[in-house]
């Protein structure tokens, strides 16, 4: 037993006649002592978080009220000017729309699609096949986003890419196009790659959630003559709702923070058609030398993701599963 373990043991009650203090006051003192110990234990993490997460957040908020020339280092206070420009900037709204599309499609595929696939895999009788399929679907998630982006860039390449070659081979030559080079297809081509990449990871998490459901529930339902579809909707779906809530938060937050795949595949082009908030922020700062405006976009991203996360957390709290 370690020293710290001992410290956490409740103190033995002192002999009554020797004590002059009431039991209530003793409890308060003990709580105060424990409270300070707790603070000491969490202090390093709080300090690190403060220095590397909250301080930059606050600093970024400050930068968003400035015009900042990185070459001369000159910073001029411009009030809410960057925010006014942002609300009047069509590329900001285009980026927001693209992020929203990303979120909607990701929820459809990576939450509900993955849940259905997980249920199908877990419904297989063969343990071996379940393992193989989980691994097969998970492999794309092990590839880095940058590598996956490059890989798909070559798949989508209009002249040498295998997607157009496959369409030609299948007699669907009319559908061939520059998937990343056309304004109306670029963002969807990127989103498709992202679904491929994240689908397996979500499936694996849903598989774990499904495995936690007691098998007696399914057995009882089967004895009562309930079919597989009804079992899914009446048992699986309600009992993985906590995981569903978590996946929604992760997926939606991820959709508003997307950056790597867009940078690698299109850099937000052509004609800003595949711009998302992350790449527009980057382009505003590092290409257009408008760091104050970039900070305003970053603040918008933070507020959007924070609000979405709080809403989803509140909803999922109400949907907690009690075993």
């Amino acid at each position: 037993m370690t020293v710290s373990d001992t410290a956490w043991k409740p103190a033995a009650p002192p002999p009554a006649p020797l004590s002059t203090k009431s039991p209530k006051s003793r409890t308060r003192k003990s709580a105060r002592t424990h409270g300070w110990r707790n603070v000491v234990w969490v202090l390093p993490a709080v300090l690190l978080l403060g220095a590397f997460a909250y301080l930059p957040l606050v600093q970024n908020l400050g930068f968003s009220f400035l015009k900042w020339d990185i070459y001369s280092g000159r910073q001029t206070f411009v009030g809410a000017d960057n925010y006014v420009r942002m609300f009047n900037d069509p590329i900001f709204w285009k980026s927001l729309l693209n992020n929203s599309l990303y979120a909607i499609i990701s929820i459809a595929f990576q939450v509900f699609g993955a849940m259905i696939l997980a249920a199908m895999i877990e419904g297989l009788r063969s343990q071996r096949w379940r393992g193989i399929l989980r691994a097969v679907y998970f492999v794309p998630s092990a590839i880095s986003l940058t590598v996956a982006g490059l890989l798909f860039y070559f798949i989508y390449e209009p002249e040498m890419g295998i997607l157009n070659a496959a369409l030609d081979f299948l007699g669907l030559g009319n559908f061939t196009q520059a998937w990343l080079g056309q304004e109306n297809t670029a963002i969807f081509a990127i989103i498709a790659m992202s679904q491929w990449q994240g689908f397996g990871y979500c499936t694996l998490l849903f598989s774990v959630a499904l495995q936690r459901i007691p098998s007696e529930l399914y057995e009882a339902a089967s004895i009562d003559g309930v079919g597989p579809f009804q079992r899914f909707f009446s048992i699986s779906l309600p009992l993985v709702r906590e995981m569903t809530g978590l996946m929604m938060i992760v997926t939606v937050s991820g959709a508003f923070q997307v950056f790597n795949e867009v940078m690698v595949m299109t850099s937000g082009g052509p004609n800003n058609s595949s711009q998302v908030l992350g790449t527009w922020l980057y382009r505003s700062g590092f290409v257009r030398n408008d760091f104050g405006y970039a900070a305003a976009v970053a603040t918008a991203v933070f507020i959007i993701t924070l609000v979405l996360a709080v809403i989803q957390l509140r909803i999922s709290k109400k949907r907690r599963v009690q075993w």
Binding site: G62, F63, Y71, T76, A178, W179, Q182
Partner: protein, 440 residues
Amino acid sequence: MRKSTQSLMALLAGAALALTGCSDGGSQPAAVLDPNAEPQYTGTLSILTKFGGDPLEPYFEDLASEYKKLHPEVSFDLIQETDQSIKDKTKTLTASQAMPDIYFTWAGSWANNFIDGGLAADLTPVIAPGTEWGNNFGESALKAFAKDGKYFAVPLYNNGKFMGYNQRIFKELNLTPPSTFDELISSCSVLKEAGYEPISFGNKDGWPGLHYLQQLFAYEVPAETLQGDFSPATAKLEDKGYLKAMDQFTTLVNECTGSGKDSNGVLYTTAQQALAEGKSGMYYQEILEFDSTASADSKLKQDGLGIFKLPAAVDAKGDPKAIEGSPEGYIINARSKNAALAADFMKFATNSQNAAKLSAPPYGQPSAVKGAVSTENSSVPVIEGIKQVNEASAAITWLDSVTVPAVADAWLAGGEALVAGTQTPDQVLASVRAASSAGK
């Protein structure tokens, strides 16, 4: 809003501004390099180059190792970036105030940012025309990095943009280098009928389209108007020549390129490769690319690489003798503690031996040092390109570095829209005008 929330918000906003603060920057007049300062041959020299990747990467590595043989106490920290990545890298290093002792620059607004920000050492006493070192360079190359009569960078090599063509294919089809824009378009149909891609073009990065546009603007917009339009303070962007040039560009994309409207999805290296492999008849490229396109093992090397200036329309209202291109150089950081050593290294890099090496294959970067490009060490297209650049009436700096970043970005998006056919020249010009007005 509850009182406590209001107080918290006020506290947060106050803290945010206090933490960031406002400052008028550390901008000071650029440090002037003392011509008599003796370099201390110790310590580390950090250099940001644009020679990342094959075949250029070994050039600075070899320079560093040769210099180290002469001065063993000196070590190097080489940061080698590519043409695309150096833009982001430079901005990141600038914003974090971590610029190296020597760093790459384009001419125009790109270099002016560093000069105005006090990040470029004033090299006038050592490199101005008439000084011992300065006399080694062509005066126009030095002037590309001059501002208010002061000289701020060491020009390493010259550059210009030309249409490179496959001599065997042209001969086979009885084609000669076109001298007008209409002739160029006509030659495309001949190449197409013979089964070749007339002009290979990849605009994934956006700037290849800008290079066409800037050369066509120089032909179609009067020189004085064009120069005035580069700066938001004086820009009007109303000349009809812009619309005509953009029409010519879309005609070229639609009639001459194999990928046409799909070109935004093609890498420029893929287009370069098509010429190198003899699949396309032409590819618009910089002198810097000549030796890598026609590398020793390429089909193009056997077929022969010829070059000609992108031809202007017969009734062009601008300057049909201008060539797009400008020297590229290296700035010595005004805040460097090793400025004298950095200058000494750059003198070493531009001595006649190293200048000749730079101008020869596989590097093929035509040195800005006088006499470095010669029949003894440089390829025929490089010599011809430099000759034409020297004979041009004016050198027009790249569109993405001559104007302010927001306007350049609007041109870039507009160029992509023209390629895809989603905007008309009028719409593109309006969006650029809006970006320029916002930058006033």
